[in-house]
Symmetry: none
DNA sequence: GCTTCGCTGACAATTCGCTGACGGCCGTCG
DNA sequence: CGACGGCCGTCAGCGAATTGTCAGCGAAGC
């Protein structure tokens, strides 16, 4: 899962990134409204955390333009506590939820999880594919009920494939969502990870579409 | 045990949180109805203390929606003294007990304990994991019946892990619950505490899942 | 058959978490 | 008032798990 965090205060932004990264998401962080708009318009994100007070182009406008351009990713806006008008404006502009600042990171996490779950359409916190169970709340993967020891990056990979079960996911898309902005990896790194995963989950859990990408589920 | 306190008066809310925290519970406090509903809907609480007069979405509606969504955690509602109608309405909506305001904190504590005990089923105020016993009433930890000398912060840590046995608790979540809003600590502080705890409880009492967090129990 | 793409085992680099030591803070006791 | 001891945060070095890189191999597609 790949997230865009838009927050002009660098300290808060970094903290949020850290928390979300720890929770298993690939996080891109930008601090200016224009950059935010551009990123959201040109890249594919599973969710956006959007602060409203931004230099250069304010959050509400950014959000409105995304929606006007037909971008439907869930957006969670951060508002000043008690600023009722901001919230209403945000919801009207197309936000899916709001979180008053200051907030507990745990609450941020809960909302992010809930929004992603809702947007993907799985009501439950677990995804089942064949004999595999992916619990997004505890970040665990189990096979026939037996927990598997999956590393953080491996989890990101299965989790993304599982959320998009039944569809072929290209390697570039996968890289984006597993690594975020971090371009430095060799293309082979993904393949190596897939290999390691197959050793744990069973070879047939992930199928390869040569020239296209990977897929989970029928 | 993790509790949600919903109370719009910040002074009362803080007092209640303080009392319950001192009693060894991990307490989340929210002041608005919508936030309360969201939290109760997305997070796991062992009990909710719910004030009825709330901004944004009233307590009865919150409670009804939780029950309609199949959430069964015990709910203790706070009502105005003598407001018979409110009580009836609350119980009808699915509350498990009520406490008329103003109340003594001792009474609140007693009812909270009673409700939690009832909901756990067997009146045991202790959690047992392997050879460890965590007594939530006295905030003591014992191993094979022998009391261990556990410091306050250490107790919060084991207690939180014990209450969430069987699931991996991320370090950020753990930090939230051990330190509250206090961001200033080095990440290493937790690790040091875990190390000290393991020396007391035995190394296998707390397992590490690298990259994810810590866990107690199977 | 040849080329390209992807797989895999081995190895290296890096990151993460553990631990012993130290020191600051604070409450208690002589 | 000063010394002592408990609690807990910080530091630095170590070891191990995770992840990236490389090289060779096999299979698919033309």
């Amino acid at each position: 899962m790949r997230l865009l965090v838009v927050e002009d205060d660098p300290r808060i932004g970094e903290d949020v990134r850290t928390v979300l990264t720890a929770a298993g998401y690939a996080v891109d962080l930008v601090t200016e409204g224009r950059d935010a708009w551009f990123r959201g318009d040109t890249e594919d994100y599973d969710l956006v955390v959007l602060d409203l007070g931004l230099p250069n182009m304010d959050g509400i406008s950014v959000l409105k333009q995304w929606r006007a351009a037909g971008r439907h990713m869930p957006v969670l806006i951060l508002t000043a506590r008690g600023s009722w008008a901001e919230r209403v404006e945000g919801i009207d502009a197309g936000a899916d939820d709001y979180l008053p600042k200051p907030f507990q990171f745990e609450e941020l996490l809960a909302r992010v999880r809930a929004l992603i779950r809702r947007s993907v359409g799985h009501g439950a916190a677990t995804i089942e594919i064949g004999e595999l169970t992916i619990d997004t709340r505890t970040m665990r993967v189990a096979q026939n009920g037996l927990p598997l020891n999956v590393t953080p990056l491996e989890y990101r990979l299965v989790s993304y494939l599982a959320h998009h079960r039944g569809r072929v996911v290209s390697t570039t898309e996968l890289q984006d969502h597993v690594y975020g902005d971090d371009f430095s990896r060799d293309a082979n790194a993904l393949e190596a990870m897939v290999a390691r995963l197959r050793k744990k989950l069973g070879a047939e859990a992930i199928t390869t579409r040569r020239g296209f990408g990977y897929m989970m589920g029928a």
